[in-house]
Amino acid sequence: MRGPFVPLLLAVALVLSACGADPTPDPTDDDPTEGEATEDSATDADDAPEAGTSASDDDTAAEAEPVTVRLMTHDSFDVSTEVLDDFTAETGISIEVVPMGDAGTALNQAILTADQPQGDLLFGVDTTFFSRALDAGLFQSYRSDRLDAVPERYQLDPDHRLTPVDVGDVCLNYDIAWFEEAGIPVPDDLDDLLEEPYRGLLAVQNPATSSPGLAFLLATIDHFGESGYLDAWEALRDNDVLVTDGWTEAYYGEFTATSDGDRPIVVSYASSPPAEVFFADPPIDEPPTGVIGASCIRQIEFVGILETTEHAEEAQRVVDFMLSPAFQEDIPLTMFVFPVVEDAPLPEVFEEHAVLPEDPIEPDPQAIGDNREEWIDQWTRTVLR
């Protein structure tokens, strides 16, 4: 009778004894309600890089109790620790970043948890999800004064619920060395890709699962027209286009310039060539890859303040901050996209190697919102099934 009962005791004993030696980062700081907990989490965030920022920590702590604003975003959001710390030091507002998966996942999470949100702002709504985000009524209006420095064509929401922060182009990248060696001319535009010489050269992402994949699909719809894009894709399929699930699989799995793959053309970003230079070791002078300008389609990323926030004031400061020179200048080398503020200086590697085409395809977010599922569905039936 007692025999069977003792495993319970052991189990409990095991837990108790092991808890003492548990090297788990102490999770006591997690009461989500505001107040003292926020200070803890702010400190944690600062600790992360563990690179001599402790002095400034002490300074801020000595001042007023900082308010923490939670910024929901996708997993690719990044910013220099220094820029973030300066903002906190200046304003007393600390930003807790809450990554929530890829862009679509993050937005959908925000929509589903609208009445019990996990943050005060959402960053990372892009052109393709723009209308879904607005339709969900997630955001409150705020027009930052700094928008004056942002070109009109990026300000897609007249009510300023979504504020543009960065732009990036999804473009076809090609392997310069491969084309030189093969003696085939680099394709000029999307039409070329349907031709025989380019058979088996292109890798794209599934628009149903990948943001650049969807962008490229939109580029083809823009280029071939709503009535012609499916025929074009059929031709692409017959020309042995390769479809991968996501950007990583295409870029690091199939692209000749960066993997063992056999595809010299891949859907990637206009900023990929400078990134190749920036991250090269040993350093290189010229990127190994180039961009096919005519294929580029512009994606704008937005930030919005949630309707439900209790820190509207502070959240507005965060939006201002994201349009500030410090943040805007930080964007290229942290997120590898371009600042929306027109005169923001670009780092050298971007100046030299990045191409942001003058005349990219600029899709209409409303049309995307209305047709996205239909287009993806048609595409899936044409290309995959």
């Binding site: 025999g3 690719s76 149903a208 479809v243 950007w247």
Partner: protein, 559 residues
Amino acid sequence: MSSRPTARPWTTAALLALPVAFLAVFFVNPVATIVATGLRPAGEFDLSAVWTVLQDPVVGRVAWFTLWQAVLSTALTLAIGLPGAYALSRLRFRGSAFLRAVVTVPFVLPTVVVAAAFLALLGPDSPVNGALSGLLGDGAPTVDLRRTVTAILIAHVFFNYAVVVRTVGGLWSLLDPRLEDAARVLGASRWRAFREVSLPLLRPAIASAAAIVFLFTFTSFGVVLILGGPGRATIEVEIHRATTQLLDLPLASVLALLQLIAVVAALTVYGRLQRRVGSQPLVASSVAARPVRTTGERIFVAANLAIMAVLLGAPLLVLVERSLALADGYGLAHYDALFRDTRDTILAVAPWEAVRNSIGFAIAATLVAVVVGGLAATAAVTGRGPITGLVDRALMVPLGTSAVTIGFGFLLALGRPPVDLRGSPWLVPIAQALIATPFVVRTLLPVLRAIDQRLREAAATLGATPRRVWQEVDLPIVGRALLVAAGFSFAIAVGEFGATVFVARAQFPTMPVAIFRLLGRPGVTNFGQAMAMSTILMVVTASAILLIDRLRVGQVGRF
């Protein structure tokens, strides 16, 4: 003569309280919430979506593909894994302990990382094709398995080999070897002795392994997407797409229900196979394992080692190779860059920090899983009635449930007042423990059942208090299995990514998170660092399991 203790109902209830509560709060509640939300788009249940979805021929095709690839993957994994389990649990040879730890490594690696290695090994430039063209000249056929079902099956075996080796091997290493000897002396061939004696005795463990592999492959996501190509989709993929991209919750809910029905059906079959086999004569693992002596055994071991080398070793080696490959030869530059941590941004993860977070979460998850699973297993052994078996099977359902369903369920269900658990670091080990707990139960159950009650009684008459009885009798016998279970839980937690992604906060990036971040941006050195981080993940996992395997509880296995 029954040697099985039977607990009073309240004892069973007390034992089951925690597992049931755990399951209710962290699984049933979130999943029910998200499914109900999906089926109630306008505040009222709208079942028309069910019909619409079920009538879609694409859904039927996806469901059928999901099912048959899972069945085939499971059969293949068993066919290849069982000989491996035998070699690693019954035969003693130099390095067998090390191998037992190493075979677990694939299990923890992120799919994206492994897929990169597989694409290299299965593509036209693979060593296989190199050998073929070397042998046959230019006219040699080129084997290109990328984006085929074959690639999916191979990858599923790669990932799940360890499940069979550890689940079945755990029991096998305790089976009295004289039973097979007796059969042999009575005229049974080696194969016949295995089939007539060991196989039936191993049936619960094999059923467990098969159920787990089936559930894993049934809900396969990354492998199918990356290796199978976008043309193939499992129900899991469709749920993911419907939830994260289309925000079509009715569709996602119907698919989740479909998945649930299939999983419950599979677990019912599994429950049948679990029928109690009678008390098993278990011995210390050191007795059961014999040194390799005959030529036949040497060939057998060599064949299994070859399979492990090709199937598990080659992809892992490719990863290591790539972490060392530089523009001009080989070197440690990627590791160096990883540790120099030159970029001071919030996404940059210091490798030690990632290692520390991963290990911390994994230890916490292991503890949760061992406690919840240990209680459930104890209740299942001592309790009466169908409820105990039901709990055992219920604990396995999360394995067969979409990570997206659970993750979004967490968001909706655990954010309600009074406590908003979302974003709590504790949610990470809890999500991981949901996956790890079934392993603990499956590993402990057969061993707990095998303990002879007379041993407990003997200890009690010798003056041992109940606590001492546990310490002196149960623990030494269960200890081994407990450690095996803990090791596996640890591995699961270290590598878990699917559910964690929904609950992990930026403050505590883990190794898989670090790998994903590195892989998410262009640049040769980022890829190299991702491979270096993957190699570190492999080393940490193998070391941890080796360490846990080496631990001794009580006297078992000391000689």
